[in-house]
């Protein structure tokens, strides 16, 4: 791999231990993937923030890098709790202490402590063609596909290494030839609501493990729909890039010679709701919306459904979003309506990385296929995957309806 004199000097330790180790990580990954050189990144997004997933030694690693500073705008994945309202969530105090140590460790490195899986909805949208190093799998798939940004699916340590060095190795989705569609997927399903897009993403990710799919026949693809689709596809099958005819910027390419791999119809989408639900009846402890973090439009829709209603005393209705979106939703009156109905809107965290298993929840309802896929193992709960409207109904009744 070609390295500049400056990069060689960093590897010799001339700019300190932290920068040396971080560049070693970037070069090591470049060797594995056969990169020809290193390229600058415009931003990073770093996973490994919830103490539940990072753990003690991950935390020690992040702490060990100080006093180095990140050299490009860098934000964080969701933490294990709302950084302000964690007591209201019922997060154990010793967890909260560890979690705040993690946040302070990143803060010392100069990271912007926006803890969100949707930084692109919160002031950090990369542009078309820009090289970045992001690690949240749903955001990676979203920015690659919907914005035409270029990023591999980084791990937490490699995204952090890119933040400290401003570099990544030139391989994978940074290269033109690896971004071309390799399989056509025909979608004839009519899609109603974000959970249908989530179900479609789940099917897509599962079916095309090693392909770049080209979706033909999608009825629409707005920001929230792309967010739902990306998250589920990245969770069920590591998908990091798709193209959608008529909607995504890199879909205007020659696809003659690309074969049709798959046909997804309405029945396939319906079956995902059955497949991902582990229970069919009974009491639901928690209805959780916001995987990925809820947009302003989703909070507006929630406020419209909840106006004048009351969440069952035996159930909780929690929304997860990013701090900037919550501030705006508060100004627009959506938060007051949701809280007036007994719901809660938390920031900085989500139902997957919060320690739900230590907070007394055993059954949850979600409108996200990703959350439904991860919750049973990540949080040891039973799960119902259903539509946004039915989720709200379940919260009002306190049980499956």
């Amino acid at each position: 791999m070609y390295l500049t004199n400056k990069q060689e000097a960093i590897l010799k330790g001339e700019e300190g231990w932290a920068k040396k180790k971080c560049l070693e990580i970037i070069v090591g990954l470049g060797e594995i993937y056969g990169a020809d050189r290193l390229i600058p990144v415009a931003s990073t997004q770093i996973s490994g923030v919830s103490y539940k997933t990072l753990g003690e030694y991950g935390l020690q690693w992040v702490e060990s890098l100080a006093p180095a500073k990140v050299v490009v705008p860098s934000t964080l994945n969701p933490a294990g709790m709302d950084l302000c309202c964690w007591l209201e969530m019922g997060v154990p105090e010793e967890f909260a202490e560890k979690q705040m140590r993690v946040i302070r460790a990143y803060e010392r490195l100069g990271v912007i402590t926006l803890c969100s899986c949707t930084p692109y909805l919160a002031g950090f949208a990369p542009r078309f063609g820009e090289h970045v190093a992001w690690s949240e799998s749903s955001a990676v798939c979203f920015v690659n596909s919907f914005l035409g940004t270029r990023t591999n699916r980084e791990g937490g340590p490699s995204a952090l290494a890119s933040a400290i060095t401003g570099l990544t190795a030139n391989y994978g989705l940074h290269l033109d030839e690896n971004r071309k569609p390799t399989a056509i997927v025909k979608v004839s399903a009519k899609l109603f609501g974000l959970s249908d897009y989530s179900a479609l993403g789940y099917l897509l990710g599962k079916a095309v493990q090693h392909d770049i799919p080209y979706l033909r026949g999608l009825p629409s693809l707005d920001v929230d729909e792309a967010k739902a689709l990306s998250a589920a596809a990245a969770a069920s099958g590591n998908l990091a890039l798709f193209h959608a005819e008529g909607f995504t910027p890199e879909s205007r390419v020659d696809i003659s010679g690309v074969g049709e791999r798959l046909h997804i119809d309405g029945r396939d989408v319906k079956e995902v709701y059955e497949e991902l639900s582990t229970i069919r009846s009974g009491k639901i402890d928690l209805v959780a919306i916001g995987c990925p973090h809820a947009s302003l439009a989703e909070l507006k829709a929630a406020a419209a459904l909840l106006n004048g209603k009351k969440v069952s005393p035996t159930s909780k209705l929690w929304f997860f979003t990013s701090l900037p979106v919550k501030v705006l939703a508060k100004r627009l009156g959506f938060i007051d309506i949701i809280e007036g109905a007994g719901g809660k809107v938390f920031t900085d965290c989500c139902m997957i990385v919060a320690p739900l298993e230590r907070m007394g929840f055993t059954t949850i309802a979600v409108n996200s296929a990703k959350a439904a896929l991860y919750a049973p193992t990540a949080s040891k709960v039973d799960v119902v995957f259903t539509t946004f409207e039915k989720c709200v109904d379940i919260a009002l009744e306190g049980r499956l309806v």
Binding site: I25, G28, I32, G48, L54, Y57, G155, P157, A161
Partner: protein, 130 residues
Amino acid sequence: MRVIKCRKISAGRAEGLSLFSPAPISFFGTIDPLTSEVIEKNHPLYGQRIAGKILIYPTGRGSTVGSYVLYGLSRRGLAPKAIIMKEAEPIVAVGAIMADIPLVDRPESFDFKSGLHIIVDADRGEIIIP
């Protein structure tokens, strides 16, 4: 003496006794982070400790948290002395670099077994069996 050429992924040099696994290893799941013991039932190395060994296995798998597990093992003094893989993957590569554990892959031949006296010289891209 036998010299086997290989590719450097993480720098350094180490000498010790080999521990060979024909099956993949995931640091998150296969290895107990507190003891370095292989805790995955049905794994060929089940019950053995990787601490202080030249660990040899074909490839890795599993969660990216595995990088931190390897780093944690080294903080506890329980890391392998060096790692030889048929084909390295990003999780173990990042963990080995964080923990200063020499790591090489793509050896010219992969006919190893446990209990061999081995020197791994990652900087020169060589595995030496004296």
